[in-house]
């Protein structure tokens, strides 16, 4: 029997001369869960975009059940039974779940949309595949896990037999991830086929039957998942052995470097995004902030880095008040910030590496003396940092936009670490960064801690928080609902209960851990 999907000798060269796929062969059998893994820039997204009709291959052929097909639009892909759930959901927040599911192919009664039929269709689909949703709820009022189920229902409603899930667990809590895995298994038992894109190897082991590994636009491994270890897969991805554990010497905790008290923030639309947040960060400590994204972490980082002013509350660094005075003041007071959204805040894509590396210090000697900037100093500074932080690029004059995600993050890290801060705010520092670079970033964070800096680590990746943080604070709906000393007894599941708002510590318990 032919494979469900056979992509043969796929070549993709983008107009800018970058080869994303070079002679890639990729096949999926009917009824399997096939993991597609690789570092950022390995070409897996491109390959899937070709399969879903979002990109056209430069060369190669696609076979569906042994028959050659051309897929030039997502429309055609859907008609062929191929559906894709993107990492960023494409739902209309103000519509109900049922309306979103049937959007574009609404059941019609007379001249009108048959709302009742839409709800029934959604309910039936949800039952059939065990994807529990409330069809009448507005999408904006539902948690992320449910939104994802809506996306999956959408593709099922359109008749997808093959589902491509693009890093589906990136935004989920541990519990939600378990639910998703159950749903995926049920889909397969009902005869569907799933391609699961991820870079979390633990998930590959847990969910997939087979795995295809890509590196530098080529396939470097195609194996039965049961026959290999996580380390084997990592080696295929990175091309060398990878250390999963970060060596962390015992903590040398010092004075409180940062004191945050009673911080509240109300958005312009009147929504309270932070409520009475208080905590300290000590020298030589990594304080991890865990929580499902969108529970106030972004606002916390923005306030502490000077990008926004709080509604009420105070924050001091070494006794100096820093709130509401703008980023320049905060930076000079000793705060460095690895921003959550690096493409928006962290870099100027069209500017050179050298220019990106001095944005917080260009006006000071040695970069500017008597009103004139020294290009030589700026270039030398960049070359030093590129060497020290292992930034791979054509040169200090290369535009940031030409770098890979990992190298881009290294540029930001190089800048923020070399500012020699008292407090380092690291928001999602390894998001979208490949394994090799993640390892590097994590080691740097631990080194900063060892050097006596206060580190505030905000991460949606629980495993990362567990492996790095000395203490862990959990945020839920803009509040800190629990603070723990990190210890082997603390489990992801236990923390998950706090992240979902099902449990919270008493004010006294929190107080004792400040």
């Amino acid at each position: 029997m032919p494979n469900l999907i056979d992509m043969r000798d796929i070549i993709k060269v983008y107009p800018n001369g970058v080869a994303a796929n070079r002679d890639v062969n990729f096949s999926v059998e009917k009824g399997e869960i096939h993991a597609l893994v690789g570092e950022n820039g390995a070409g897996k997204s491109t390959l899937m975009k070709i399969l879903y009709g979002l990109e056209q291959p430069t060369g190669g052929q696609i076979f569906l059940n042994g028959r050659a097909v051309t897929i030039s639009t997502p429309h055609q892909a859907i008609a062929l039974g191929i559906g894709m759930v993107h990492q960023n959901f494409m739902l209309i927040p103000s519509f109900t779940i049922a309306e979103n599911v049937v959007l574009g192919q609404e059941p019609i009664k007379g001249q009108l949309i048959d709302a009742e039929a839409a709800i029934n269709i959604t309910r039936q689909l949800a039952q059939e595949y065990g994807l529990e949703v409330d069809p009448t709820a507005k999408v904006e009022a539902t948690p992320v896990g449910m939104r994802q189920r809506v996306e999956i229902l959408k593709t099922l409603y359109r008749g997808a037999d093959l589902l491509i899930l693009d890093e589906p667990t990136a935004v989920l809590t541990p519990q939600e991830t378990d639910d998703l895995f159950d749903a995926v298994r049920r889909l397969v038992s009902q005869g569907k086929t799933v391609i699961f894109i991820t870079h979390k190897l633990i998930e590959v082991k847990e969910i997939s039957d087979r795995v295809t590994v890509m590196r530098h636009g080529e396939v470097t491994g195609r194996v039965q998942t049961a026959e290999v270890s996580e380390e084997d897969i990592a080696r295929m991805m990175v091309g060398r052995d990878v250390l999963f554990r970060v060596e962390k010497p015992p903590q040398q905790r010092g004075e409180a470097a940062v004191r945050v008290s009673g911080l509240s923030y109300v958005s312009v639309t009147g929504r309270p995004l932070l409520r009475d947040v208080s905590f300290n960060v000590y020298r030589g400590e990594i304080l991890g902030i865990a929580g499902v994204e969108g529970n106030g972490q972004t606002q916390l980082a923005e306030l502490l880095s000077g990008l926004a002013a709080p509604t009420t509350g105070a924050a001091t660094i070494n006794g100096q008040s820093i709130l509401g005075r703008g980023p320049r003041y905060v930076r000079e007071a000793g705060v460095a910030h690895i921003p959550e959204d690096r493409l928006t805040n962290g870099v100027a894509l069209e500017a050179s590496i050298a220019d990106n590396l001095v944005v917080d210090r260009y006006y000071r000697p040695p970069f500017t003396r008597r009103g004139a900037m020294s290009l030589r100093q700026i270039r030398q500074h960049a070359e030093n940092l590129m060497q020290k932080f292992d930034i791979r690029a054509a040169g200090a004059g290369a535009a940031i936009g030409s770098l890979s995600g990992g190298n881009m993050q290294k540029v930001i890290i190089a800048r923020e670490f070399s500012a020699d801060p008292a407090l380092l705010i690291a928001a999602q520092p390894t998001r979208g960064v490949d394994i090799g670079a993640s390892e590097f970033v994590r080691r740097q964070l631990v080194e900063a801690r060892n050097a006596g800096k206060a580190v505030l680590l905000i991460s949606a990746d629980l495993a990362e928080v567990f492996s790095l943080a000395d203490r862990i604070a959990v945020m839920y709906k803009g509040e800190i609902v629990a603070i723990f000393q990190n210890s082997p007894d603390l489990t992801e599941e236990a923390l998950g209960l706090y992240m979902l708002g099902l449990k919270r510590q008493t004010p006294a318990e929190i107080e004792s851990q400040l």
């Binding site: 070549i11 970058v18 430069t58 703008g326 069209e350 260009y362 054509a394």
Partner: protein
């Protein structure tokens, strides 16, 4: 983007190809509308250049110096305005205010020229400073409105243009005009306030050197001064600039104000160099031509003179063709616009490249690629 030598070569090849293509198309249009297309087009292409004519007695003479002068005179205005716009564009703002700044610059220079008396060097310097200051203020206003009140700068600069031009005409007609003259205009400026000519037989004055100095100054500002760095980072990514601690509002305001200085100086070239007086209309709509120059130069100060000379050549050639052939002014403008359109259209050559690539096999393309990566 990364500027390797190969990319620079490619870019130059691209521009030359596109210019040739555009000129060819221009010629094609000329053949449709002219009885003597070759003659007309030759005027267009070679008109602005001086010609050497050999006399019967073996001596030689340079002819058409005034046409050459026209080219340089026009280019001076274009380069100053191009610099003005390039600064604003680098900050990714969109000022259309050069016209108004130019009029006020001319007015300020005119007032100093007519009502002050001083030795030439001081008199001219004072007039230049007055013009620059007028332009600065007229750029500061929309800049501050944009930065602090988020007023759209396209609207505000256009409105301020109207105010500036009306104010200029009001002051001129009401107070400054020479009532003995048969038209609305001031007296001629005193000798000490007229820019000295540097190329005999033309009206090319020391404004040429002022322009060269302005190019160097703007280049220095943009690539060697902290403010230039701030402008570039603001233009590249405003949120990044804010995050890095740059005071973005101040930079927006200053970028537009400084750009006004250059437009104000262009006003002195017109009033103190070319006209030697103030007249009701200075040079209609030239304020917007700076945008073309800045676009051609990709906002890079060092390329602005090249772009300004090129565009000035086109404009002068077109005028000469209009005067000395049967091609109408409208058609001349069409040809001129097509050439500009071709050069600024970034997509033209990539399209040709794509077409070329499609004819090659995928393997051949793969062999020729430089990098590996995923654009996603």
């Amino acid at each position: 983007m990364k500027t390797t030598r190969r990319q620079i070569t490619l870019e130059i090849v691209r521009i030359v190809l596109v210019v040739l293509l555009a000129l060819l198309l221009g010629f094609f249009i000329t053949t449709l509308v002219s009885d003597d297309p070759v003659g007309a087009y030759t005027e267009f292409l070679t008109g602005p250049l001086p010609k050497i004519s050999i006399n019967d007695d073996g001596g030689w003479q340079l002819r058409g110096v005034n046409r050459f002068g026209n080219w340089i005179e026009d280019s001076i205005t274009l380069i100053l305005l191009g610099l003005s716009v390039a600064i604003v564009f680098s900050a990714r703002q969109f000022s259309l205010g050069a016209e108004g700044q130019l009029f006020l610059g001319a007015l300020a220079a005119g007032a100093v020229s007519l009502y002050f008396h001083a030795p030439a060097v001081i008199h001219i310097s004072l007039a230049l400073i007055a013009a620059g200051a007028a332009g600065f203020v007229w750029g500061l206003i929309p800049g501050a409105l944009k930065a602090y009140l988020n007023a759209d700068e396209i609207v505000s600069t256009l409105m301020l243009n109207i105010i500036a031009i009306q104010f200029y005409q009001f002051i001129l007609t009401r107070y400054m005009r020479d009532f003995t003259a048969g038209y609305i205009g001031t007296e001629y400026f005193p000798e000490t306030a007229v820019l000295p000519v540097v190329i005999p037989g033309t009206r090319v004055t020391v404004a040429l050197f002022i322009t060269i100095a302005a190019v160097v100054a703007v280049w220095f500002l943009m690539s060697r001064m902290p403010l230039g760095y701030e402008i570039r980072m603001l233009g590249a990514n405003r949120k990044f600039a804010e995050y890095g601690g740059i005071k973005v509002k101040r930079v927006i305001t200053l970028s537009m104000a400084i750009s006004g200085i250059l437009a104000g100086l262009a006003g002195t070239h017109l009033s103190m160099g070319l006209l030697k007086q103030l007249t009701l209309s200075l040079s209609p709509n030239i304020g917007f031509e700076g945008i073309v120059v800045a676009l051609l130069a990709r906002n890079d100060p060092k390329w602005v003179p090249v772009a300004g000379l090129f565009y000035g050549y086109l404009r002068t050639g077109a005028q000469i063709m209009e005067r000395s052939s049967d091609v109408t002014r409208e058609m001349v403008l069409v040809i001129q616009a097509i050439i500009i359109l071709f050069i600024t259209a970034e997509r033209v050559l990539p399209l040709i490249q794509q077409w070329w690539q499609r004819r090659r096999s995928p393997e051949a393309i793969l062999d020729s690629v430089e990098g590996v990566g995923d654009v996603a």
